[in-house]
């Protein structure tokens, strides 16, 4: 059974600090996604990572993929309050389906 595990599940941090969310998965895939979800809202696509060593950055967020370790990371640099949200990684399983991690609820305090 394909498993996608995120850690930590809850993260409270101060503004200005750096932190990393980890996403481990159990089987190979050709794509890994990161999504952001605000409370009661939809899933906003952040990054699609396709190959080993892929790194993508948008503002204070940077995502990377290590297919050999079956690990993706989402790094937050100098966090600001409006990055508070739940972040999901999701692995492509077959042509169409995504398998999601449990989500990491990130709270950034002033």
């Amino acid at each position: 059974e394909l498993k996608v595990e995120q850690n930590p599940l809850f993260l409270s941090m101060q503004e200005g600090k750096n932190y990393t969310i980890y996403c481990n998965y159990s089987t190979t895939s050709d794509r890994l996604y990161w999504y952001r979800q605000d409370p009661g809202k939809s899933l906003e696509s952040l990054f699609v990572l396709l190959s080993n060593g892929a790194v993508k950055q948008e503002g204070r967020l940077m995502a990377s993929l290590d297919t050999k370790a079956r690990l993706s990371t989402l790094h937050i640099t100098a966090a600001v309050h409006d990055l508070s949200a739940t972040y999901f990684c999701a692995l492509g399983a077959g042509a169409q389906k995504l398998v999601f991690g449990q989500g990491t609820r990130l709270t950034i305090n002033p």
Binding site: D30, R31, Y33, Y35, G40, K41, S42, L43, E44, S45, V48, L50, F88, A90, G92, G94, A95, Q96, K97, L98, V99, F100, G101, Q102, G103
Partner: protein, 115 residues
């Protein structure tokens, strides 16, 4: 920016009633999906739909569920006889293509409460 739209945003229904959740995918997209998220849990795949037929479904998507694309724009999820455990946020999603490199865009969700 084009978006996936869903209606209703929230529906309360009695156990045993039929529910239809509606979605308008992004106009040039060809692949359509339903996912659900039970409160506090992970997002789970239900079904994918392409070329007017189901292309993949999960074990959650049993005979109580059906999907349809009744016209050129709408994509619906029907739950025939709702159970308490069907209470969840249901997300519609769409993509241009499938597989590697295709971003899947999600709607804002329909929150279903079964009482």
């Amino acid at each position: 920016e084009p978006e996936v739209t869903q209606t209703p945003s929230h529906q309360v229904t009695q156990m045993g009633q039929e529910v239809i959740l509606r979605c308008v995918p992004i106009s040039n997209h060809l692949y359509f999906y339903w996912y659900r998220q039970i409160l506090g849990q992970k997002v789970e795949f239900l079904v994918s739909f392409y070329n007017n037929e189901i292309s993949e479904k999960s074990e959650i998507f049993d005979d109580q569920f059906s999907v349809e694309r009744p016209d050129g724009s709408n994509f619906t999820l029907k739950i025939r006889s709702t159970k308490l455990e069907d209470s969840a946020m249901y997300f519609c999603a769409s993509s241009v293509g499938q597989g590697s490199g295709n971003t899947i865009y999600f709607g804002e969700g329909s929150w279903l409460t079964v009482v």
